[in-house]
Subunit: 267 residues, 2 copies
Amino acid sequence: MTSPRDESDDATCRWAVRLEYDGSRFVGWQRQASGRSIQDVLEAATARLAAGRPVPSIVAGRTDAGVHAAGQVAHFDLPRAASERLTGARLRDALNFHMKPDPVAVLCAARVDASFSARFSAIRRVYRYRILNRPARPALEAERAWHIRQPLDASAMQAAAAILVGRHDFTSFRASSCQAKSPVRTLDRLDVARDGETVTLHAEARSFLHHQIRNLAGTLKLVGDHRWSVDDVAVALAARDRSRAGPTAPPQGLTLLAVDYPEDPFR
Amino acid sequence: MTSPRDESDDATCRWAVRLEYDGSRFVGWQRQASGRSIQDVLEAATARLAAGRPVPSIVAGRTDAGVHAAGQVAHFDLPRAASERLTGARLRDALNFHMKPDPVAVLCAARVDASFSARFSAIRRVYRYRILNRPARPALEAERAWHIRQPLDASAMQAAAAILVGRHDFTSFRASSCQAKSPVRTLDRLDVARDGETVTLHAEARSFLHHQIRNLAGTLKLVGDHRWSVDDVAVALAARDRSRAGPTAPPQGLTLLAVDYPEDPFR
């Protein structure tokens, strides 16, 4: 006979993982018929810890094909029996073993409260968009940066970035496929800085719209080219019309660096 | 009738190029029957500028399979007729076009005096060896770093590195296949520094022996593990016996960063 306390236990335990991956080898985070996704790789590994049963995962940022992560966060529920044999370090090592040789790695893993959601508990997403700004095409950074030959004016880009920071209707910078209910987002940070041949954008917000950072990067590039003024960016933002902003920058420049929560689940 | 001055002109002009490449895709710099080399890629491109005739190239550092370059230097002689239509920028762009999509890029090109040798005129080679020191295997840096799980003591490694700097007989750190006449080299710099999960070695010398930096890295790793003391490294150096030093570190951590000349050919 089991005690009432045992009966009240759930059959699963929730785990969170912090992930690094090379997005150039995948069709994106989400499962798709067209090829392998990072979700496929992770869930093939988690299923092996659940006697082959599917273990659905929820992720903080559903990155597109070609977009990288250095600090993605996901959560999933493992059977309680399996969980009790695990520590964070053991789960990390087991998943890294099973995901080999795919360029997806669990940096850390931790048991979390069942109320934790990698997606809905997140209070901040931090992204970097990297531009390689030089005449020669990239060899070492081919899949890691947007290559732009003509010199960009990073100071002008920074001035334009400053007017995009804050709470705005970002319809002009939102993919037509974006499924978010509201186009209003609060952009907490958007910085542009040059370091030698590299121009780097840093973007932080509680959440982003689909393609928002790539559309911001594609628009700021027009300012860097002196084809657009800072005012043109203000006009594009106010227009609330995707066709009025710049093109979508390519995915390989984008990396999800970090996801923050009210309490760090990996502390 | 041609003037004596015309007759004295050579049929070729010498060019120098600075190269970046991802060594993970090649069998190394030098042509080999076992697969494609960086030399193959460059010389296939230079031959197209010489009406299909072979254009042999000489390189500053004959990197091994898997070793990268961010600032390799090579030289070659192009027919004078072709050279007269070229500028450095045009040659850079033409070679980058012909080498596409291989991860080899010409960063800059310049016409140089016929006495210039990428190999023999070099007065300094600068290499970086990067270790990713964390439990999780690398996803983004898989082909760019040596992965070591257990924490390394970078301060101990730096103390051991200090005794290797200077003019020594480096027989203990030289590949058995090394063809250099003398095992004596002057190591101008060997530094070890930690930045978060990354431990980086910087090495500078006029020239290095075959596998010297990888053998130094493999030996310093033993010090970082506290398996060897600084004195053990001194003993290994004094032994002048390859079997007394540590193992050869894997190639993917190594990058040739720069080659210096008495005058910068690309200035």
